[in-house]
């Protein structure tokens, strides 16, 4: 594999994790536009733990995931009071807040960024991405995931059939944030250098786009979305300045004709017939 292809493949792996982090939270009906913040926390923490504290990368990524997840839970609580566009705005605000925190936080290098991370192989990145994807795919087949969907479909009814909707929504936030944290750590090692500008609003939007384009009702949706959105700009290079316009047009077309994203749960219904050992 050429270094160019390997680089793209690593980008896809990291993008996939970003998409999954949005996907898990969205499964409970919560749209987060602040996941780049969790990524930033994971990126800085994994970098500091390895560069300053000399921890092995795998351990550092796990800790970064845990810490981001914990932060996600903290953000998840106030998020309970908000819905739809208001939640989106609040998480967006949280993202900007986190970005400016790192901008002013001298120990992390401030605007100058943070370096010292060594290169990692594409295989290592994909080991994480594939494991977490498989994890989410398996989770989708659990009863807990049905609880997520129940909250998304009708939160009040979910509450009234005995589901602790608070725990479910906050838990989903934590899980999504943890995945974003791991993505951040891998991103830092893939880029070898991080600075706050890399974790801005546009990155959060990108993560949402992977899900919206690929599909928001099955975990392979974000996989397809991440792949397409990482590769398309490359394939559209010949369009030069028109690249972004073509890209936007494509996105609009997909959304016009498939609001649920390219892949949806219906496509898998036949495959999952034996899912619950139905009669």
């Amino acid at each position: 594999m050429s270094t160019y292809a390997a680089g793209l493949s690593a980008d896809i792996g990291i993008a996939l994790l970003g998409g999954l982090s949005v996907y898990v939270i969205l499964a409970t009906g919560q749209l987060s536009l602040g996941n780049a913040a969790f990524m930033a926390v994971g990126a800085y923490l994994a970098s500091a733990l390895t560069v300053y504290a000399g921890l092995p990368l795998t351990a550092a990524l796990m800790l970064a995931g845990l810490a981001s997840g914990f932060l996600g839970v903290l953000v998840g609580f106030p998020a309970l009071r908000l819905r739809g566009i208001y939640l989106a705005m609040a998480t967006l605000g949280f993202g900007e807040m986190t970005r400016s925190f790192f901008l002013d936080f001298a120990p992390a290098g401030g605007a100058g960024g943070f370096r010292g991370m060594g290169p990692v192989s594409t295989a290592y990145i994909w080991a994480w991405s594939a494991s977490l994807l498989v994890g989410v795919v398996l989770l989708e087949r659990s009863r807990l995931w049905l609880e997520f969907r129940a909250v998304n479909d009708d939160e009040r009814a979910a509450d009234l059939i005995g589901l602790n909707t608070t725990a479910i929504k906050v838990g989903a936030f934590g899980l999504g944030a943890a995945i974003a944290g791991v993505a951040g750590g891998l991103f830092a090692y893939h880029q070898l250098y991080i600075e706050p500008g890399m974790f801005g609003f546009d990155r959060s939007i990108e993560m949402v786009l992977y899900v919206v384009l690929g599909g928001s009702t099955v975990a392979v949706g974000p996989l397809l979305g991440a792949t397409l959105l990482v590769l398309l700009p490359e394939f559209l290079r010949f369009l030069a300045d028109w690249r972004l316009a073509a890209f936007g047009a494509l996105l609009i077309l997909v959304l016009l004709f498939r609001r649920q994203g390219i892949i949806d749960r219906g496509m898998f219904r036949g495959l999952s017939r034996r899912k619950w050992a139905t009669p």
Binding site: S142, D159, L160, I161, R273, W276
Partner: protein, 255 residues
């Protein structure tokens, strides 16, 4: 007159929305193993009583006792876990879930591990119970369907099936016959009588009088947030207070 073993009890329950009193010092008792009807004209406060009993609304005053313990201050999911299940006047199903998935998610899974394992949500016990519920409600052939693809009467049955899947000791049904045809209503009557024989206690709101009269052991009549009558179906049917409440509602004042 208090039954020795009451499942649900309203004691002086008041519910106000701003200036409106939806319920005004309401007292009633649902004895174990019985089917109790809650009837009354539109806006009488019947659904409000259900919302209070299931914890969806908080009471303004008074106490609600389920199996000897107050449910005041509990969240809806905590009330549900104590053993109260309900259906909704306006059907509220999970649009993305098949009928079978409704049963799996409503069935309480005690093992946290099994809850997150793939395919683990439906252990053998759950499966058997859910199959039996499908069988009872006549939904077996539709287990793989999404509720939107089912006729209205069938959707009502899915709601009842979902409620049963949580293994309640008290079932609250809000106008279960609405939207059902004669045959379906007949089947539902049979089903509810059968559930009572198996020991389930049921509180049902219903406008269909023949249905209520055939089904219930006891009936309470609500009007303007007050219990204006209560008794066996034959007694309630003849009660002049009840007649005037209903005639009044029908605009039949011109006697």
């Amino acid at each position: 007159m208090r039954a020795p073993d009451s499942v649900l009890e309203f004691r002086g329950v008041v519910k106000r929305f701003g200036g409106i009193s939806a319920l005004n010092e309401v007292d009633f008792v649902v004895p174990r193993g019985q089917i109790v009807g809650l009837i009354g004209p539109n806006g009488a406060g019947k659904t409000t009583a259900f919302n209070l009993a299931s914890g969806a609304y908080t009471t303004t005053a008074g106490d609600i006792i389920f199996e000897g313990r107050s449910t005041i201050g509990l969240k809806p999911y905590q009330v549900a876990r104590r053993g109260i299940a309900r259906t909704f006047q306006n059907i509220r199903l999970f649009r993305s879930m098949t009928v079978w998935e409704h049963l799996v998610v409503s069935n309480r899974e005690k093992s946290r591990i099994r809850n997150i394992l793939p395919f683990g949500g439906a252990g053998r016990e759950t499966c058997e119970r859910s199959r039996r519920i499908l069988d009872l409600t006549g939904l077996t052939a539709f287990h793989d369907r999404l509720p939107v693809s089912l006729p209205y009467g069938m959707q009502r049955k899915v709601e009842i099936a979902r409620a049963l899947a949580s293994q309640p000791r008290l079932l609250l049904l809000d106008e279960p016959v609405a939207g059902m045809n004669q045959d379906e209503a007949g089947e539902l009557l049979e089903l509810l009588l059968r559930l009572r024989r198996e020991g389930l206690t049921i509180l049902v709101i219903e406008h269909d009088m023949p249905f209520v009269m055939n089904l219930c052991d006891h009936i309470y009549v609500l009007d303007f947030g007050l219990v204006i009558a209560g008794g066996r179906p034959e007694e309630v049917r003849r009660d002049p207070v009840v007649l005037s409440a209903y005639l009044g509602e029908d605009g039949g004042c011109s006697r």
